[in-house]
């Protein structure tokens, strides 16, 4: 069984931070990100320091085959739980497909929330489609697309045409999540 680890950013080594930042700063990631600027290593580490005391944000590196291949995050701001994800372009498609499902389950159970939001650049059609497959609905459009997922719709989506099949494949993987608060 192959293992996937979600490791809290606050637990990463400096080398791991460099690997993560390299992915985050790649052109194909910044082109579709809400914040497109290149982040320097020092800026990144300063931000991590601020994150140490922030209990409303959780950022995880996705580690597969001992390599960081992307990141997922969730944060609770003004009573709205949001999520985000990015993967390097050559990350295995299967992992890119099963991680969101695992992470949605994590968010709904950990934050005991009934709604999750996603904010996506309107040009990022793949992400919009991807979130729709998870059960997200589009809210009225502006430059940034906001999508909304209720727990009810997520459970329906899990039984739907796309996720039902992908979930079958999840049994081939073992998941582990290392949270900062559980050290």
């Amino acid at each position: 069984m192959k293992s996937i680890l979600l490791k809290d950013y606050r637990l990463l080594t400096d080398e791991e931070h460099k690997d993560l930042l390299q992915i985050r700063n790649a052109d194909e990631i910044r082109e579709v990100s809400l914040d497109a600027k290149i982040i320097s290593f020092d800026e990144h580490l300063s931000w991590i320091k601020k994150l140490q005391d922030d209990r409303q944000k959780e950022y995880f590196a996705v580690i597969y085959n001992n390599k960081i291949i992307g990141g997922v995050n969730t944060f609770d701001i003004d009573a709205k739980v949001k999520w985000g994800v990015f993967f390097e372009s050559l990350a295995p498609l299967m992992i890119k497909s099963i991680i969101p499902i695992y992470f949605m389950d994590f968010i709904f159970s950990t934050f005991t929330c009934s709604d999750i939001y996603a904010e996506i650049k309107k040009e990022n059609l793949n992400a919009i489609s991807y979130n729709k497959s998870l059960g997200f609905k589009l809210l009225p459009r502006k430059d940034i697309v906001t999508m909304h997922l209720t727990h009810e719709n997520y459970l329906k989506a899990k039984n739907g045409v796309i996720l039902k099949r992908v979930i079958k494949k999840m049994t081939l993987y073992k998941f582990k999540i290392e949270r900062y608060d559980e050290r």
Partner: protein, 99 residues
């Protein structure tokens, strides 16, 4: 060999049509060998592709009595994806069955 390729392509298209009965994507109403699947201007996002491939694997394995894994990590992270259109997917399956 040509018959085998034609048979494989028919299975790919039939599974795609069945999958689309629930997906309801207009671009997949009448798929042909040129129908784009995944990648630039593709009709399926990554979740939908994995889902479609899961069904396809089962059908191909049943028809040819050979287990194949389409959702192979090497293929799914290849720079020239075998999943870009129906024809490339058919060729990829043909190659896997020959191995």
């Amino acid at each position: 060999m040509r018959d085998k390729i034609a048979k494989i392509e028919k299975i790919v298209i039939d599974i795609l049509k069945e999958f689309n009965e629930e997906l309801e994507n207009e671009a997949l109403n009448n798929p042909t060998s040129k129908t784009k699947l995944y990648g630039t201007n593709g009709t399926l996002d990554s979740l939908a592709l994995v889902s479609f491939i899961t069904d396809l694997e089962e059908s191909i394995s049943d028809e040819f009595d050979k287990e194949i894994v389409l959702a192979d990590e090497k293929a799914m992270s290849a720079t020239t994806s075998p999943f870009r259109n129906v024809e490339s997917l058919t060729n990829y399956i043909t190659k896997l069955l020959e191995e």
